[in-house]
C-alpha cells in the first residue's frame, strides 16, 4: 500500500476511529492518542494491508482491540474496575449536567463497553448489524441482544429522569 492509498483508505477513517476510541476510552485525548498509535502501527505494516478485503471493518476492529488493551493496561496499573456503573449524580454533577443532551451522552458512556460500542456503531455510525458483528467478533444475534439492552437501559434512565423532573415540578 503506497502513501496515497494509505491516505485514501485509512486516514480517511480517522474521524470514525476517533469516535469509536472516544466511546470506549471515554476520553478525547486518550482517543486521539489511540488513533495516532493505530495509524502508525498500520503504516509500519502497510505492505501487508493490500490483502485486507474490508478495510473499514478491519481498522475498526483493530481500533477496538487497541482501546481494550489500553483499558486493560490501565486497570493493571491503577487496579480500578473497568466499568463504572451508573450512580446518582451528586449536586455538583447535577449542576454540571444541566444540559439534557450531555446527560444522555453521559448515560451512554455509563453503559458497559460492549453495549456503548454497539449502540454507537449503530445509532451514530449507522452500521449494519453484520458489520458490527464482524468488528466485535460477535454473532449478529449477540449484537442485537447487546443493542437492545443498551437502548432499554437508556430508555429506563430517560424515563427515570423524566419522572424525577415531573415530581420536582409537582412538589413546588
Amino acid at each position: 500500500m503506497d502513501p496515497k492509498q494509505f491516505n485514501t483508505q485509512i486516514l480517511s477513517l480517522s474521524d470514525r476511529l476517533f469516535r469509536l476510541a472516544k466511546s470506549i476510552l471515554r476520553n478525547a485525548e486518550a482517543a486521539q492518542d489511540a488513533v495516532q498509535d493505530l495509524n502508525l502501527k498500520l503504516w509500519e505494516k502497510r505492505s501487508a494491508l493490500d490483502e485486507i478485503e474490508n478495510m473499514p471493518a478491519f481498522t475498526m476492529k483493530s481500533m477496538r482491540n487497541l482501546c481494550l488493551d489500553t483499558i486493560r493496561q490501565q486497570r493493571e496499573e491503577d487496579e480500578l474496575p473497568v466499568e463504572i456503573e451508573f450512580t446518582e449524580p451528586n449536586p455538583y454533577q447535577q449542576t454540571e449536567q444541566k444540559d439534557l443532551v450531555k446527560r444522555i451522552r453521559n448515560m451512554i458512556d455509563d453503559l458497559p463497553e460492549l453495549q456503548r460500542t454497539v449502540i454507537r456503531m449503530r445509532d451514530v455510525e449507522g452500521m449494519e448489524l453484520s458489520e458490527i458483528a464482524d468488528i466485535t467478533s460477535l454473532s449478529e444475534n449477540a449484537v442485537t441482544v447487546n443493542l437492545s439492552r443498551a437502548r432499554q437501559k437508556i430508555r429506563e434512565k430517560i424515563i427515570y429522569e423524566q419522572n424525577r423532573v415531573e415530581e420536582t415540578v409537582w412538589k413546588r
Binding site: 486516514l11 486521539q32 488513533v35 495516532q36 502508525l40 443493542l147 437492545s148 423524566q162
Partner: protein, 171 residues
C-alpha cells in the same frame, strides 16, 4: 403518532431496520415532535451531535513526516559537513603560516580571541543542530509531535548568516 410509537417500540427492542431508524431520526429532527415523544428527542439529538465529532488533529502528518525524516537527515548532514569544513579550514590556515591569524571568508583575522569565539559559536550551533535534529529520529512518535528541529535549523542558519553579515560590516 401511532406509527412512530410502533417504530419506537421496535427501536428499543433493536428490531428496526436502518431505514426505520433514519425515519425516527428525521422525525425527531423536525419541528413536529409530539409532546409524548419529547423526552426521546434528546437521545436522537445526542446521536446526531456525536456523528459530527472529528479527530482533533488530522493524522496526515504521519505520511508527511516520513519525508521530513529524510529531509532532516539530509539537512543535518549538510550543515554538519559545512561546519566541519569551516573548522578544518580555520585549523589548516593557522599552522600553515607561522603567524597568529586565520582566514574567515577570505579575510585575514589576526585577533585570536575573535577567531576562537567564532569557531566555538559555529561548533555550538552544530552541536545544537545535531542534538535537536537527531533526537526526533529515535522514534516516529517524537517526529510526529515535534517539527521544531526543522525550524531550529532554519533559525540557526539565519543566525549564522547574521553573524557573518555583522562581522563583514564591522570589518
Amino acid at each position: 403518532m401511532e406509527k412512530i410509537n410502533e417504530i419506537l417500540d421496535k427501536y428499543f427492542r433493536a428490531e428496526t431496520t436502518l431505514a426505520e431508524e433514519r425515519e425516527l431520526k428525521q422525525y425527531f429532527a423536525s419541528q413536529n415532535v409530539k409532546a409524548g415523544h419529547e423526552s426521546y428527542r434528546n437521545l436522537f439529538v445526542a446521536f446526531d451531535q456525536e456523528k459530527y465529532e472529528t479527530a482533533v488533529a488530522p493524522l496526515k502528518k504521519v505520511i508527511i513526516n516520513q519525508h521530513r525524516v529524510k529531509q532532516l537527515w539530509i539537512k543535518t548532514f549538510s550543515y554538519s559537513g559545512i561546519a566541519a569544513a569551516l573548522v578544518l579550514a580555520l585549523w589548516v590556515q593557522r599552522p600553515q603560516q607561522d603567524e597568529n591569524y586565520a582566514i574567515i571568508h577570505g579575510r585575514r583575522i589576526e585577533d585570536p580571541e575573535y577567531v576562537q569565539k567564532y569557531a566555538e559559536k559555529k561548533l555550538n550551533y552544530v552541536n545544537e543542530i545535531l542534538k535537536d535534529g537527531l533526537s526526533p529520529m529515535r522514534s516516529m512518535e517524537m517526529v510526529k509531535q515535534n517539527l521544531q528541529p526543522l525550524k531550529k535549523i532554519r533559525e540557526t542558519h539565519d543566525k549564522m548568516i547574521e553573524i557573518e553579515r555583522n562581522h563583514n560590516i564591522n570589518n
